[in-house]
């Protein structure tokens, strides 16, 4: 069993159209780094210099990591991590208008 990662529509081009992929347990930031090895280019869309980008929200089991331990929030096998671009008062972006 691995960590389940939910990929938003604008990034699914980088995951061959997959809505959900598997990642390695560790921390949120190490998970992103491991995803980038499997799906090159996805890392820089989500984070920069080891920090999650300001307009990307990450949820671990539906809890916003800003209320947990940010990039250092632990993720273990079986956890569900959601990557959700956010803008305009929490609006969720599905793709290009």
């Amino acid at each position: 069993m691995a960590v389940k990662v939910k990929i938003p529509v604008p990034l699914q081009r980088l995951t061959q159209g997959k809505e959900e992929v598997e990642g390695e347990a560790g921390t949120v930031i190490s998970l992103i780094e491991s995803l980038d090895k499997k799906y090159p280019g996805i890392g820089e869309r989500i984070s920069e210099g080891g920090k999650i980008r300001r307009f990307v929200n990450i949820y671990v089991n539906e809890e916003d990591i800003r209320f947990l331990d940010n990039e250092q929030t632990p993720v273990k096998d079986g956890d569900v991590v959601s990557i959700v671009p956010a803008i305009a008062g929490g609006l969720i972006l599905r793709g290009r208008t």
Partner: protein, 414 residues
């Protein structure tokens, strides 16, 4: 005739052509309109602005439109009121109210942003405008859209108060009452905006819409005699208004209309929804979302889109932030009304109440030139004052009865 160069991501700087887009494809940052300031500097003078009609289009070179619309409601150029009575009451010398409770078609500053959004929507060729709102924005889109001949879809939470629903319905938009709270409505609207080719003023038109707020700042500078104030206190919901007022001051300097900007910008929020002020007080730029619980409903955004940028404005300008309880909001509304004759909605109570605390704490000085941004009319939120105003004097229809009460009144005040 427009001076718009394009759109630019505020986070990573990638540039985009002028289109109804609002998010950077690469990093999801918000897009912002950029202008040809050199070109504007050559043509826009104080004299030219002063010669134009007293509405927001007198600053059109600094707005994201190709030209002034010919089928729009007249909006903007609200009074800047020198508030000497209030100044005495709160212990300062030079105080102004930027009074957006009047001179707008729907009596709030939202008419500024909606007027710009709809002008741009027409230039893009949209035939339908839409928004998610609990109040002022719904009224404004309903009214301006009626005048400009758009089809209108207004999405509200079904539980909204009847008086607020009527103030939209009178303009006969398609009013969609969603079974859910404001967050649910917002989420649904972002899905609809992706599927239908409509101009959602605060979603796909947001980069243009938000620029309309700058007109409040332009007017402040012009009405002060072409100078920036020492202090401006701005209510924060998404934080957009505050960032745009700051931008407007800097733009006026950039294009040579004023020589210097030394203004300190202060954020005002209700304690029951103060994610921006909380971050400012903690000296951080991370906004922790909250669940709003305040009578200041027009400011009740728990996850403010421009919160990060609002904290940057405060730190860049040397300002600060303050928040006030519901009781303090009501007291401030009453103080503004009895000293200056201005009836503000709850957001106005937040602004004045916060300003008073900032003065007492020494952040705002006695001899600063101070402008308070009062953004909407109190007739829209009368229920907030229910039980907090004096009672009428009840009398019989005869002179004796009146004079008995009169003696009480005069005795009471004497």
């Amino acid at each position: 005739m427009g001076f718009i160069k394009g759109l630019k991501c505020r986070e990573c700087g990638r540039e985009y052509e002028i289109n109804p887009v609002y998010v950077c494809e690469f990093c999801f940052g918000p897009l912002e309109v950029i202008y040809d300031y050199e070109g504007i500097r050559g043509v826009l003078t104080r004299e030219k602005i002063e010669s134009r009609p007293r509405n927001i289009w007198r600053y059109r070179e600094l707005l994201p439109v190709e030209g002034e619309p010919d089928n729009a409601l007249d909006t903007g150029f609200t009074p800047l009121v020198r508030a000497d009575n209030l100044a005495r009451a709160i212990g300062v010398k030079e105080l102004y109210i930027k009074d957006d409770t009047v001179a707008h078609p729907t009596l709030s500053f939202k008419d500024r942003v909606v007027a710009v959004a709809l002008a741009r929507a027409e230039e893009f060729g949209f035939d339908t405008v839409a928004c998610a709102s609990t109040g002022n924005l719904a009224h404004s889109v309903s009214a301006h859209g009626a005048k400009a001949g758009f089809k209108r879809f207004i999405f509200i939470p079904a539980s909204l108060e009847k008086s607020k629903i009527i103030a939209s319905l009178v303009y006969e938009p398609n009013l969609i009452a969603v079974n859910g709270n404001y967050d649910d409505v917002n989420r649904l609207c972002s899905e609809i905006a992706n599927k239908y080719n409509w101009a959602f003023v605060n979603i796909n038109i947001r980069p243009f819409y938000a620029e309309g707020s700058k007109t409040q700042g332009f007017e402040i500078i012009e009405q002060l005699g072409w100078r920036a104030p020492d202090v401006v206190v701005v209510p924060c919901a998404s934080g957009s208004l505050m960032t745009k007022i700051w931008k407007s001051f800097k733009e006026m300097k950039e294009v040579g209309l004023i020589e210097e900007v030394h203004t300190r910008v202060y954020a005002a929020q209700a304690t029951g929804c103060s994610p921006i002020v909380t971050a400012i007080k903690q000296g951080i730029d991370v906004i922790r979302p909250v669940k709003p619980n305040t009578i200041a409903k027009s400011l009740a955004i728990g996850n403010p889109a421009d919160g990060y940028y609002a904290t940057k404005v405060v730190s860049e300008s040397g300002g600060y932030g303050e928040d006030v309880s519901d009781e303090e909001i009501v007291e401030a509304i009453k103080l503004l009304a009895r000293t200056e004759g201005i009836f503000a909605e709850t957001a106005g109570g937040v602004t004045l109440g916060s300003a008073i605390k900032l003065i007492r704490a020494g952040h705002i000085k006695e001899d600063d030139t101070i402008v308070l941004c009062i953004t909407g009319n109190g007739l829209k939120t009368q229920e907030a004052l229910s039980g907090h105003t004096p009672e009428p004097h009840h009398i019989e229809p005869n002179l004796d009865s009146f004079e008995k009460v009169l003696r009480q009144i005069e005795g009471g005040s004497g």
